[in-house]
């Protein structure tokens, strides 16, 4: 059975967790300050292409929408969404391990989060609150993060090599190419 969460080898994960009363401002401040603290903690989860945390305080409604009933979120929610490589279970294992220092400050502020906010218990919590994709699109769904990074570097490397190797004899060109790209 094909999963709507998958496009190629890429997987779209989304968890929506309810924020504890009184914690929304502290959570917002903490998440916004992550940039000032150095590289994103998500950079430690190597299979993450792109990811986000979003605080959803309410669902929007305007009189012009002609929506008959109100439908407020009774409690603000934290969304964690990640576009990742491969299978979800092993990814969440890595995520819950790598984010152990930050998770208590993030999901620890959400209702139902396990007290230690790490490991298998946190993983189960995130899976319990998963929202499946209806439709997931990945422009290069067959390429992993490491492949994208490697090929981007290789592209720069080839451009530099092409400039540097102008005027070399066939023997010199071959030797330089092998050393640069085919040494192993």
């Amino acid at each position: 059975m094909r999963s709507a969460n998958r496009s190629g080898q890429a997987y779209g994960f989304l968890a929506m967790t309810p924020i504890k009363p009184g914690e929304i401002e502290a959570l917002q401040q903490y998440l916004e300050s992550l940039r000032e603290r150095g590289p994103s903690p998500l950079s430690r989860v190597s299979r993450t292409h792109m990811a986000r945390w979003v605080i959803v305080p309410k669902f929007h409604r305007k009189p012009a929408y002609r929506q008959r009933k109100d439908d407020m979120l009774e409690i603000p929610s934290l969304i964690f969404s990640s576009n990742l490589d491969g299978d979800l279970d092993s990814y969440l294992d890595e995520l819950c391990e790598a984010l152990a220092p930050e998770a208590p400050e993030i999901w620890g502020r959400c209702i139902g989060c396990p007290p230690e906010a790490k490991g298998a218990a946190l993983k189960e919590y995130l899976k319990f609150n998963q929202v499946d994709c209806g439709f997931f699109y990945a422009a290069y769904g067959q390429a992993t993060v490491s492949k994208v990074r490697r090929t981007l570097e290789q592209r720069d490397q080839l451009v530099a090599f092409a400039v540097r190797s102008q005027g070399l004899s066939p023997e010199e060109l071959q030797g330089a190419f092998v050393e640069e790209f085919a040494a192993s």
Partner: protein, 193 residues
């Protein structure tokens, strides 16, 4: 707001995030799953999305219920389904919405036509206002390769395929044959560089 037309919190290098919730009419509960199912299986329907070449990842989800995690969370029965949309793209917010409106006009009508308040994709002014009203800025956004655009990534992946045979065979080739193959590669891969 930044020069890209969105909050700095939605940006990591070249990558920009957009997150939108919209409330879905009763018939969307039936229609949207069919639309998603068909769109995922008929490549022709996503061809324009692929050709636009500025979206890394995008997703649409239907939130029909809020999982109950125990007190103090109240048990909540939603009156309507809600559609979650996110995109990870490069370029500017304004250009992104413009392209969606003008190029994916019928697609927008299909995906958002069942949402309350959707004003049609064109004219673009009311559509931008609708998206802004329903958009929520990220609190933290991350890209693993923030300086790369989709075009750069696709070019790099294509170049990798073209380069692989020469990398594999370079050592055992005659120097003149290698030089000719290298020139052919550069000519062939010019648009990837």
């Amino acid at each position: 707001m930044t020069a890209t037309g969105t909050s700095p919190r939605n940006i990591d290098g070249q990558a920009i995030s957009i997150t939108v919730f919209s409330t879905v009419k009763w018939w969307g509960r039936l229609f949207l799953p069919v639309l998603f199912f068909v769109t995922a299986r008929v490549p022709k329907l996503t061809r324009t999305l692929v050709q636009l070449s500025f979206i890394h990842f995008a997703r649409w989800s239907i939130v029909k219920e809020i999982p109950f995690n125990g007190p103090p969370q109240p048990k909540q029965k939603l009156n309507y389904p809600h559609m979650y949309f996110e995109s990870n793209f490069n370029g500017g917010w304004e250009e992104y919405i413009d392209a969606f409106s003008h190029i994916l006009t019928s697609g927008m009508a299909a995906f958002w036509g069942s949402s309350y308040g959707f004003p049609k994709a064109l004219p673009v002014g009311p559509f931008k206002e609708y998206i802004q009203d329903n958009e929520t800025a990220a609190s933290h956004y991350y890209s693993a390769y923030p300086h790369a655009t989709i075009t750069m990534i696709k070019s790099a992946l294509e170049l990798d395929d073209k380069l692989a045979p020469l990398k594999r065979n370079a050592k055992r080739m005659d120097p003149d044959a290698f030089a000719a193959a290298y020139e052919t590669l550069l000519t062939d891969a010019q648009r990837c560089l």
